[in-house]
């Protein structure tokens, strides 16, 4: 028997993160990556995901600090806990990457997505679409006698639910921005 005082599997990083690092169940994670807004930086991030075989469920990017020229890339990805850890470490290794935050494990976070829905229809269907839009707090941003374009902000789940309801009512096109997310609280 080993006389080691230390037990296998001991790691100080497991103090707060109680996920089993060897679990083989995929879970979704929302990552916020702060990068220098320089040419090619998005290609580096995407190339990392495709080159190493990771998944991207959703991705949004825009410059968030116009004086410091930093952008925020929000990525929703999925993988086993060890794959997620590897994704974060690989992202952190990219030279223009400043910070990598895992909003799924760092505490509560708000996630929102904006979507536009084009619904074409007449008669009862048209009235029903408008009624449901009100319930979902979607705005009408374009209307003709045969169609509406609804604008809605919400969680990806809410947007999915609204799209499902609109489908039989004449949904013809959907545009989604992908997830933007921030941690809750002061910091």
């Amino acid at each position: 028997m080993s006389a080691l005082k230390l037990k296998k599997g001991v790691s100080k990083h497991s103090a707060y993160d109680l996920r089993d690092p060897n679990a083989d169940v995929d879970e979704p994670h929302t990552l916020a990556v702060i990068v220098d807004n320089e040419p090619g930086v998005l290609a580096r991030v995407i190339g990392l995901f495709s080159g190493r075989g990771y998944n991207i469920d959703s991705l949004t990017v825009a410059e968030v600090d116009h004086t410091g020229h930093t952008s925020r890339i929000t990525i929703v990805t999925r993988g086993t806990p060890s794959v997620i850890e590897q994704i974060k470490a690989q992202l952190g290794r990219i030279v223009p990457v400043h910070e990598v935050h895992d909003l799924t494990v760092e505490g509560p976070a708000v996630e929102r997505e904006l979507a536009l829905f084009k619904v074409a229809g007449q008669g009862d269907k048209r009235i029903e679409a408008l009624r449901l839009a009100e319930i979902f707090r979607a705005n009408v941003v374009d209307s003709t006698l045969e169609s509406f374009v609804f604008e809605m902000t919400g969680t990806p789940g809410k947007i999915d639910a609204f799209a499902e309801l609109m489908r039989p009512l004449g949904l013809s096109e959907v545009a989604r921005t992908g997830v933007a997310a921030l941690s809750r609280g002061a910091v």
Binding site: S2, A3, L4, A43, S82, E85, Q86, A89
Partner: protein
């Protein structure tokens, strides 16, 4: 007062300010202004290679044998694409390189201009970082930043793409010390709490082993010194990856030899049976681990690495210590000493007894011959005859590379240059040129196979032009030996395209380039022939005709764990199952 100068002049000035002495390159239309500046100065030596791939491998050889970054200058389009293999090789083996490529002028980018290629796009996944400089004002600063990125943290190749109009335009030169350094500042010090936990484990471990890699060498000479002190003071056994050979001396008492697929039996068995594995600057490569599920099943594992992404990538470790090897080893030694230099002496004695039993297997034994030169014998004689000399070894890739790692010994770091991660055939010859340039008075030998060597044979021109006395020690079995070995073990002895037909007469080839050729076919002539090679003042092609069907053992068949090694041909048939066959 900052000087105003052209972009081309800026390149040369920035290289000078970074202490660059040698640039490996090949001119072309898009870098002509820089070549014009190189012509008008004498501080930086330019070495004209015969192919851009060789420029990068030469720079790798230079970098690995000196610890300084290697510098490459090539033109746009094909110049840049030819450099891609070398860049990938350097990325896999963490070699600091700064590669400068010419580009079509900014106003032509995107028009499919002559010799235009999307160089930053193509090289993005095979560099640590790269830049396209569109404004001369940013050029000098970018070059300084490039040296910083290439050499700090886990080293790697970087590339700067410079359009031709940026080379012609003028701007103010920015000195290195005035360059705004980026936020890129990797963490050097390890977590002291984890280091203390590792000391705890070291004090009680019954069956510890150090598993070290190229990270020790990359960390600098201090890291090798600290490692030696640590190993000798604790009395723990140590094994190393292909990349780490020489960090701990092969003559040291803790040395088990290389581990891995063609590593030594005692090293692999120690890895399998240990209760404490201390990985220092290695990355659990698949050539090392074998079957991951059965890798060293009973051990507590500590991993010291400067790259957080190396940790828990393949093997889950218990003590992940992110930091520079030298910094961490310094703290580790300090803590261990301050707590009374304790080890589990009784456990260690038993452990060494076990290791001695494994050593007694003599896994490198081979059947020698009086009539045919065995490749192992050729390397044993080379080792014997060059041992005490100021010697540097490079290799190509294949059986000869593994035999060289098994039979040659290294007592110092930076003496062994081989393509580890990427396994690039054609690496060794140009690398030997880079090494020889950095160490003009030393004996530089490229241990090669004839097939690998032919991949960059054009560099004979470079070797003779610059009178570089590189010795090309070719173990010629007229086969792609490692491919042939796998076809024998795995594909029913159907040797599909794994023989080298229409080989040149290497002696005549040497003479055609103005070098010396030596042919050796008889084991009895070998010693004299090797001495003739060493004594000759100039490049030599040594054509050593060896046994054609020799296999490289010991071997962990792909998909197998460490304790299921093949020790010789007798147990090799059908050793690789269907699962292993899909592994490379």
């Amino acid at each position: 007062m900052a000087q105003t100068m052209t972009g081309a002049k800026m390149v040369v000035q920035a290289l000078k300010d970074q202490g660059v002495e040698v640039v490996f390159g090949y001119p072309g239309g898009a870098v002509l202004p820089i070549y014009d500046e190189i012509f008008q100065q004498n501080d930086i030596r330019h070495i004209l290679v015969r192919h851009e791939q060789a420029a990068v491998h030469s720079a790798e050889g230079y970098a690995r044998s000196t610890g300084k970054p290697g510098v490459v200058l090539v033109t746009s389009g094909p110049g840049a694409t030819n450099a891609v293999t070398g860049l990938t090789d350097a990325l896999m083996d963490s070699i600091p390189l700064v590669v400068l490529t010419g580009q079509v002028p900014t106003f032509m980018i995107g028009t499919d201009g002559f010799q235009e290629a999307d160089t930053v796009g193509i090289t993005r996944p095979c560099t640590k970082h790269n830049w396209l400089v569109k404004d001369t004002a940013n050029l000098a600063g970018t070059i300084h930043e490039a040296f910083h990125v290439a050499t700090s943290g886990r080293p790697g190749p970087v590339l700067i793409d410079i359009p031709k109009d940026v080379q012609f335009a003028s701007s103010k030169y920015v000195e290195p010390r005035k360059t705004v350094t980026s936020h890129y500042q990797p963490r050097m010090k390890g977590d002291i709490e984890l280091i203390t936990q590792l000391v705890d484990a070291m004090e009680s471990a019954e069956r510890p082993v150090f598993y070290t890699g190229g990270g020790v060498i990359n960390s600098g000479d201090a890291a090798s010194q600290l490692l030696r002190e640590l190993v000798d003071a604790t009395g723990f056994p140590i094994t190393s990856t292909l990349m780490g050979l020489g960090a701990y001396p092969a003559s040291g008492k803790g040395w088990l030899g290389m581990l891995g697929m063609h590593g030594l039996y005692e090293a692999n068995m120690a890895m399998h049976g240990c209760d404490l594995m201390i990985n220092i600057g290695a990355r659990f490569d698949d050539r090392i681990t074998g079957r991951v599920a059965d890798f060293s099943p009973k051990s507590l594992k500590a991993h010291i690495d400067i790259d957080p992404s190396s940790i828990n990538k393949i093997i889950h470790v218990d003590l992940p210590i992110v930091g520079d090897v030298a910094h961490v080893l310094e703290d580790l030694l300090r803590v261990w000493k301050s707590r009374g230099r304790k080890t589990n002496k009784e456990g260690l004695a038993k452990w060494w007894k076990k290791i001695d039993d494994w050593k007694a297997v003599s896994c490198l034994t081979y059947r020698n011959s009086d009539t045919v030169i065995k490749p192992q014998y050729a390397l044993q004689r080379l080792e014997e005859l060059t041992k005490g000399m100021d010697r540097y070894i490079t290799t190509e890739v294949g059986q000869h590379q593994m035999w060289a790692a098994q039979f040659l010994t290294f007592d110092e770091p930076k003496r062994w240059m081989t393509s580890g991660g990427l396994g690039t055939m054609g690496y060794g010859f140009p690398a030997s040129i880079g090494v020889q340039l950095a160490h003009p008075e030393s004996l530089v030998i490229n241990v090669a196979g004839e097939a690998s060597w032919l991949m960059n044979m054009q560099e004979m021109g470079t070797a003779t032009q610059y009178r570089l006395p590189v010795k090309q020690f070719i173990l010629n079995n007229e086969r792609l030996g490692m491919v042939r070995q796998w076809q024998q073990l795995l594909h029913g002895e159907r040797y599909s395209h794994s023989w080298s037909e229409s080989l040149p007469d290497f002696v005549k080839l040497a003479e055609a380039f103005g070098a010396k050729g030596i042919l050796c076919t008889d084991p009895k002539d070998l010693d004299d022939a090797i001495m003739e090679m060493i004594k000759y003042d100039g490049p030599v092609i040594f054509d050593c005709l060896v046994e054609k069907h020799e296999n490289c053992f010991p071997m962990i068949p792909s998909g197998s764990p460490h304790n299921e090694m093949l020790l010789g041909d007798a147990n090799a048939t059908n050793a690789i199952g269907a699962k292993g066959a899909v592994m490379v």
